[in-house]
């Protein structure tokens, strides 16, 4: 890619191409401004850089949402004071981190564990959505199996035995023992 072309990348593309870790790309330059002059800066600490961006994004988002919150007076500070102050503090912290990441070397972002992250999240969400409808037994089986898919280490025969054990334990402890108002089985056959 020529310099000029890279200078025209949108910030997002630029990050995608150039931030170490996000694409695993090598450390490389971010170009700002015009064609004739551009300054070269290396992201030397991908982890800090990403953290900085994360803080800045949250801070700006919080400020935007809190924009209309009333500020009150010094004697009676109102709803908006602390949210806005914290939003700016977060942005400031993020800026420091981002600048620091250009000045000193540090660790890059390492690879994401997509498989467990996605499967564990889906398993949790599945539990939330199903438990009132399908009852505890089926929900547990679905949710635990989804979680088991999350790691390549699962041995399915061992898992099957474990799942039966957990379901029995769950029903005995939480429904009979603690008397939680969760249905054991789906109510009727309709989904309501």
């Amino acid at each position: 890619m020529s310099r000029q072309k890279r200078g025209n990348l949108s910030l997002r593309e630029d990050l995608r191409v150039n931030t170490p870790g996000i694409r695993g790309a090598v450390e490389s330059a971010i170009f700002h401004g015009r064609r004739t002059w551009c300054w070269r800066m290396q992201i030397r600490n991908g982890q800090d850089f990403a953290t900085g961006l994360f803080f800045i994004a949250i801070g700006l988002g919080a400020y935007w949402i809190a924009f209309d919150y009333p500020m009150g007076t010094a004697m009676r500070p109102d709803t908006g004071v602390l949210p806005k102050a914290l939003a700016w503090l977060l942005v400031g912290t993020g800026l420091i981190l981002a600048v620091k990441s250009l000045l000193a070397d540090g660790p890059r972002l390492t690879g994401w564990a997509w498989r467990p992250a996605i499967m564990i999240t889906i398993a949790t969400v599945a539990f939330a959505l199903l438990v009132d409808r399908l009852g505890l037994v089926l929900t547990m089986l679905v949710s635990m199996t989804l979680a088991a898919i999350g790691t390549p280490e699962t041995r399915w025969r061992e898992y099957a035995l474990f799942a039966v054990f957990m379901v029995v334990l769950g029903v005995v402890v939480f429904i009979y023992g603690l008397g939680m108002p969760i249905p054991t089985w789906p109510k009727g056959l309709s989904w309501r």
Partner: protein, 502 residues
């Protein structure tokens, strides 16, 4: 007179703690604590978060006694794994792996375990007495606090948690701010205005502490741990020859005393707690030792000191929570969560309004330590067997307990969705190398600080100088300032990093 009062208080505590029911909850906490301590990848914070909803059905005394037992129980259990498997069962037993595992490889696992347990027991007893002695005067002091003083004390607490957090200080700052921001979600108590609720009715009451802690500590840990399959190299499943030799005892006496003293002090610091205690004690033992080069090759001093220190610190960290209502670490934040579930507002008034609860909990700590030494020494083989449960199954069990635990809080499936979201946030924070403990403290302290800030401003008629005009408040702020300066100086910071790396 002071002694009489103390004895009367302890007698009251004894009458509460020694009831059959409360002894049972104490035992339960100790057993669960040891179990999660032994198991790597399951920590006391996540466990307490899991059990908070369950404690709802217990009386307040039983609930808090059990929750406390989990924390100090985990300190005992953590050392077992550290010594036998070379894996820290808890972060506070990281340094125990250095010399403990070497001892185990030399066939001296028994003495290492025994000294760890005895050191912990001694430290636990001393710290219990310390809590009982320190609590009343501190409580009296706390009653003189004006809102401005509380505000500044909380600032100091947050600064401590930032300074003592592992890794980058700037990130710890960000985590505190983020935590405070999360704490503001919901209805503003003073005005009734809604903040950051996105018109979601589940958010009108604010984010729950339990879903937040469970997501960030429980679910996120599962995701992270499933990525890096651990290896467990169990030295041997049978531990023989438990009793340490006379020589072992002689060499451990000093380290246990020093570890107890150091741990007790560091436990008091906000943000301190067990981890800091054990690291510092190891460093101290190395400095004091005539043969520092031998550390790491199976020196019993390197087991005795840190193990005494982490247990002492675990217990003295209750002091700021009990007397001032200020959590000094994530576990204490969890204890405050447990109190609030039972409608107890933590603070100096707890000791006066619920003396039975207060002193009962303190005395129960001594019972708990006694139970733990029995649980951990003769029954060590049982706990070792727990290590045979592979993490791939443990993870699924923990996930299920998280889900059903949060569901049972309000019988609301929507809260389970929150833990999914917080789990992802927590995983992001792990990848960004941001320690979540300051976030949790900010989450708890943020809304409290806002309340005190408003009261102080109202009392001073809008004059912000009130925070430096009151001597107590000024002292806290100056201390906070000095701490920050110390940390920003690179010289001190280097020292801090090496202390943590060792």
């Amino acid at each position: 007179m002071a002694l009489d009062g103390l004895l009367a208080n302890l007698a009251l505590g004894l009458s509460v703690a020694a009831t059959m029911q409360n002894l049972m909850w104490c035992l339960m906490g100790a057993v669960i604590g040891t179990a999660v301590g032994v198991l790597p990848g399951v920590g006391p914070v996540a466990t307490m978060a899991l059990l908070l909803p369950v404690t709802y059905v217990l009386p307040a005394e039983g609930a808090l006694i059990m929750l406390a037992g989990i924390y100090y129980g985990a300190q005992y259990g953590g050392s077992t794994t550290a010594i036998l498997v070379n894996l820290p069962g808890e972060s506070s037993s990281v340094v125990t792996t250095l010399d403990g595992y070497q001892m185990a490889r030399q066939g001296r696992a028994g003495p290492a375990l025994a000294i760890a347990a005895i050191g912990s027991f001694f430290a636990g007893c001393v710290a219990t007495i310390l809590i009982a002695a320190a609590a009343p005067p501190l409580t009296q002091l706390a009653q003189k606090f004006a809102p401005a003083d509380y505000f500044s004390l909380m600032v100091l607490g947050l600064v401590f948690s930032i300074v003592l957090a592992r890794g980058s200080i700037v990130k710890a700052f960000g985590m505190v701010f983020l935590g405070m921001l999360l704490g503001l979600v919901g209805t503003d108590v003073n005005t009734g205005n809604l903040r950051f609720t996105f018109d979601i009715s589940d958010l009108f009451d604010g984010l729950g502490f339990v879903p937040l802690a469970m997501g960030i500590f429980g679910i996120a840990e599962i995701i992270a741990n499933l990525t890096n399959p651990e290896r467990r190299d169990l030295v041997s499943s049978k531990v023989s020859n438990l009793w340490p030799s006379r020589e072992d005892f002689r060499r451990s006496r000093g380290p246990i005393l020093r570890g107890t003293a150091l741990g007790s002090i560091l436990g008091l610091l906000p943000g301190g707690g067990a981890v800091l205690g054990s690291f510092s004690a190891y460093t101290l033992e190395k400095k004091v030792s005539k043969t520092p080069e031998k550390f790491g090759t199976g020196m019993i001093e390197g087991v005795a000191g840190p193990e005494a220190a982490n247990n002492a610190a675990a217990q003295t960290s209750f002091i700021p929570m009990l007397t001032l209502g200020i959590p000094s670490n994530a576990v204490m934040a969890m204890m405050i969560g447990g109190m609030m579930i039972h409608g107890i507002i933590p603070g100096p008034q707890v000791m006066e309004q619920r003396p039975g609860l207060f002193w009962g909990m303190i005395v129960s700590m001594w019972f708990g330590n006694l139970m733990l030494i029995v649980l951990n020494l003769p029954m060590i083989g049982l706990w070792v067997r727990l290590l045979l449960v592979p993490y791939r199954l443990l993870a699924i069990a923990v996930l299920f307990f998280c889900c059903i635990g949060v569901y049972s809080l309000n019988n609301s499936a929507n809260e389970v969705l929150f833990i999914a979201a917080f789990g992802l946030l927590g995983y992001l924070l792990i990848k960004l190398d941001c320690e979540p403990a300051p976030l949790l403290l900010g989450f708890i302290l943020g809304p409290m600080m806002e309340v005190y800030m408003r009261r102080a401003m109202l009392l001073s008629r809008g004059d912000p100088w009130v925070f430096v005009q009151r001597p107590l408040s000024l002292t806290f702020l100056v201390l906070a300032g000095i701490l920050l300066l110390l940390v920003i100086l690179p010289f001190i910071r280097k020292g801090r990093e090496t202390a943590f790396q060792e």
